[in-house]
């Protein structure tokens, strides 16, 4: 029977093509987006990202949302070419909804991971040609395992579990070392942190990344621009509002920089 549950296949059947091979024009700087991170804290997983998108030396945009809610229990954080990443997010969002509505059950967490892997694999030609590389982090609540989980990918589509944390983007080498240090020798491991402690940690990490990576945007208090921070627990995805980030930043982050 032709009743399929795979929205991506359905799109392909209608002539949709994803990951078109193209060559970046000489001298043409593509827009990219930078530091994203995720780590496990006491109640689930925190996912955060700065807001800057750059093209070479040019700051294209300082309000980019790189932490995208795919459904009520999953988030994809993006590093790389936003055009391709947003397209992937749109395909995933529709794929998960379509599966739930046709099959009358949620797609499993493993199925969601696999869906992103397939998109990355189809995108390999564009990634290698230099027009569409995306290196995402996918985090979500796995109801079979009853735990929030983190996965990160390479541009070929291989998925790796971030047992405690995962980072991606041009600012990630800076914070990867910090995360390892904090998690191993800090006062408490990341997984023991309360929500507020985890939020402060994320703000400090992204501020550190911005310090050493020009393609990562820091906090811009004059413009009221703060990173995007989301929490994933069994009850779903929740965004920390700027109104709560502001006092935390001023009390626990700004005095240290």
């Amino acid at each position: 029977m032709g009743m399929q549950s795979d929205f991506y296949q359905l799109l392909k059947g209608q002539g949709y093509v994803f990951g078109v091979l193209g060559q970046a024009a000489r001298g043409q700087e593509l827009t990219t987006a930078t530091t994203i991170l995720a780590f496990k804290y006491r109640d689930g997983v925190l996912v955060a990202g700065d807001r800057r998108a750059t093209a070479g030396n040019m700051v294209m945009y300082d309000r980019t949302d790189k932490v995208l809610e795919i459904d009520r229990h999953s988030v994809m954080a993006i590093a790389g070419v936003p055009a391709t990443a947003y397209e992937m997010a749109r395909i995933l969002e529709h794929s998960f909804k379509y599966f739930r509505r046709t099959q009358l059950q949620e797609l499993s967490f493993e199925g969601k991971l696999r869906a992103l892997s397939k998109l990355l694999k189809d995108n390999v030609p564009a990634a290698l040609a230099g027009t569409g590389a995306v290196v995402p982090i996918f985090a979500g609540y796995d109801f079979e395992q009853e735990a929030a989980k983190i996965y990160f990918y390479d541009i070929l589509g291989a998925e790796f579990e971030g047992v405690d944390y995962a980072v991606s983007g041009s600012g990630s080498p800076t914070i990867r070392g910090i995360l390892h240090y904090v998690n191993t020798w800090g006062e408490q491991p990341l997984s023991a942190m309360l929500e507020e402690q985890a939020t402060v940690q994320a703000l400090r990490l992204l501020t550190s990344a911005a310090e050493f990576d020009s393609a990562t945007g820091g906090v811009n208090r004059e413009a009221g621009l703060y990173p995007v921070i989301k929490f994933i627990t069994a009850s779903g995805v929740r965004t920390m509002p700027d109104a709560q980030l502001k006092p935390l930043f001023e009390a626990k982050v700004s005095r240290h920089v």
Binding site: M3, F7, L10, L11, H94, K97, R101, T102, L104, G236
Partner: protein, 269 residues
Amino acid sequence: MYEEPYKWVEAVGNRRTYLDEQFKEGAPVVGVTCERGILLMTMSKGTPKLYEIYDRLALGGMGHPADLEKLRFNLLEMAHVEGFNRSASDVTGGRLVKYGMAPAIKQAFEEVFKAPFIVKILLAELGQKAGKDGFLTINYDGTFEEKSQYAVLAATSAVEQKMAGYLREQSLASLADAVGAAIRTWAVGDQAQRRALDEGEGHDEARTSPDQLATDTETLYAYLRRCIAEKTVECALLDRHVQGPSKYRALGVDELKTLLPNELSPSLS
């Protein structure tokens, strides 16, 4: 044999008689708007009859499960491809029904060499603002109607009118009001269909002898208690208070117990 026009008309007429027969034992469906959103309600045995279609669209159906399933998939496919290619705001009940579903059902109904769809469909659409909610109903021959406030599906138009008449008198302010009104309206419809079946007097029975069917609350609750013991109460809500784009959620037993009238909630297990 159908080349001659009058024979085609006769064949279509036979088809109507055949289809009317198919719905006699079907469970009615009730859709009502309230402050919280849109509530759909029915009772089923096994196969569910209420479904999520898109972010703000829900479907209730009567008829053959396989036909309903086929049309449900068609709707899902149309809605999701359109939502992906354009935007969620472009996926409207009106477009799906008028340019997609209704023509396909009409064509199947009139192609007398092929099997028709044995379905009646109620599509509920949650508006961007309260007061903009709406319903579309499609009959087995492809005719559709747009409604606001409430809409019902039943075996015959006479039963539907009776249900709508009852519903018009009910308060639909809160979600609990809506659940109570919907389940009593369902009982009005189901009772009328049962009576028509029992007496074997055809579809007009409910209209011709309205006095024979008690619609006082106590009688309806007694009838509903018997139905609840045999069937599953299905309630789904397009909830305007839900965070995120997808507004559909099925009401579980625990929540239903708190929303059903006190006379009925103990019967629910």
